[in-house]
Symmetry: C2
Subunit: 225 residues, 2 copies
């Protein structure tokens, strides 16, 4: 019995019957994890803001959008990419920062540490396809490409679809994957909400811009007839 | 033991340890199911083709696209909508045609009859959001709305995202949900492939059209400066 218990290990996640053999407890504190993520994001955003200023005719809103796309793109590629391609992150004897992030986040949604296939599928699509597309979107804004708004709509839609699958699957499976209401609202609900309202706002703006462009184009066509 | 076996019932699906209490066997043959779907689709397509001809300046390609959007929209809303909102379809004593469809399809992918949450989530988004949007796309093409191409891209992207989640989750879970290679290739692979290549082609076309419109618009802007 003792042998089985040791190999199954004790973990802090919900549901408690989740089996995580060789689980290594979290070492870093929540504040350390958040501070590192916050500082890294601040550095990235500052760098993009300065870089964006060197492109001609860039509005303030475009600069903000470039910061968002690089921030979310790197989050998708590095943070979520690590999760997708490191199935055994919770077993690492000398855990990296990224492993600690996902063990900490799993307090809000244990389907991450439990490797739920819907989560891995959505995160895989996000990391591999949407991540690089986000960086392309920042480049497209800076260089005023004709596909800029279209690409922003496409990625935002993907982010919204992914978030929808994320929340709906949790609801269908009983919505009981958080250690406490605090982690449920802070990680599962609040942290993810940014990937609902920001893509929604971007979609509305780019949708209007494209419709206006197509509209003007068609009016000119019918005038020249 | 006999009592337990009776309540667990015997079903034809893979994996064999899938528990489907009160499962009622399929009555309709494969050919009947496919003939009804084929005839209904033919009627819908014919009706849309004739109706589309009454709108001014509609190209042949636009007529084909309107047929596709109405066909796929009704498939999403009726067929997939039924699946989403009828969790116990496999238990019906006097099964409807739609219940028979999903029991038959489950021979190619038992996650349907087994009510896998990723499947239900994707089908839910498809039936509730994409279905009505498809009908709107057909209307937008007929009435030459400025958002027509954008809407077609948005729905096509959603269909591609859904299909990606569908295939990736199956792969992650061992890809062993079909009764035989015949059902695997005919239902899981071939039937779904239409929702990969058709949305892809539509996306490429509409993407090019919008980029061209935005491009012309921007050239005119810089000329007038």
């Amino acid at each position: 019995m003792a042998g089985i218990q040791a190999s199954e290990s004790i973990h802090p996640f919900i549901p408690t019957d989740l089996i995580l053999p060789d689980y290594v407890p979290i070492i870093l504190s929540q504040s350390t994890i958040l501070t590192v993520y916050g500082c890294a994001s601040f550095l990235v955003v500052s760098f993009v803001w300065i870089l964006a200023g060197r492109f001609p005719k860039i509005s303030k809103l475009d600069k903000v959008l470039m910061c968002w796309w690089v921030f979310t793109g790197l989050t998708h590629m590095i943070l979520e990419g690590y999760f997708v391609f490191t199935p055994e992150f919770f077993k690492q004897k000398n855990p990296t920062y990224l492993a600690e992030v996902w063990k900490e986040y799993s307090k809000g949604d244990s389907r991450y540490v439990g490797r739920d296939s819907a989560i891995v599928a959505v995160e895989g699509i996000t990391a591999v396809l949407e991540g690089p597309a986000c960086l392309l979107a920042a480049y497209a804004i800076a260089t005023r490409k004709s596909y800029s708004h279209l690409l922003q709509i496409a990625i935002s839609l993907g982010q919204l679809y992914g978030t929808a699958v994320y929340f709906v699957t949790s609801y269908l499976e009983g919505d009981n994957f958080a250690v406490s209401p605090y982690y449920y609202y802070a990680y599962y609900f609040f942290a993810n909400s940014f990937w609902i309202w920001i893509p929604s706002l971007i979609m509305i703006r780019s949708w209007k811009t494209i419709c206006a462009a197509v509209c003007t184009q068609e009016q000119k066509k019918s005038k020249t007839r």
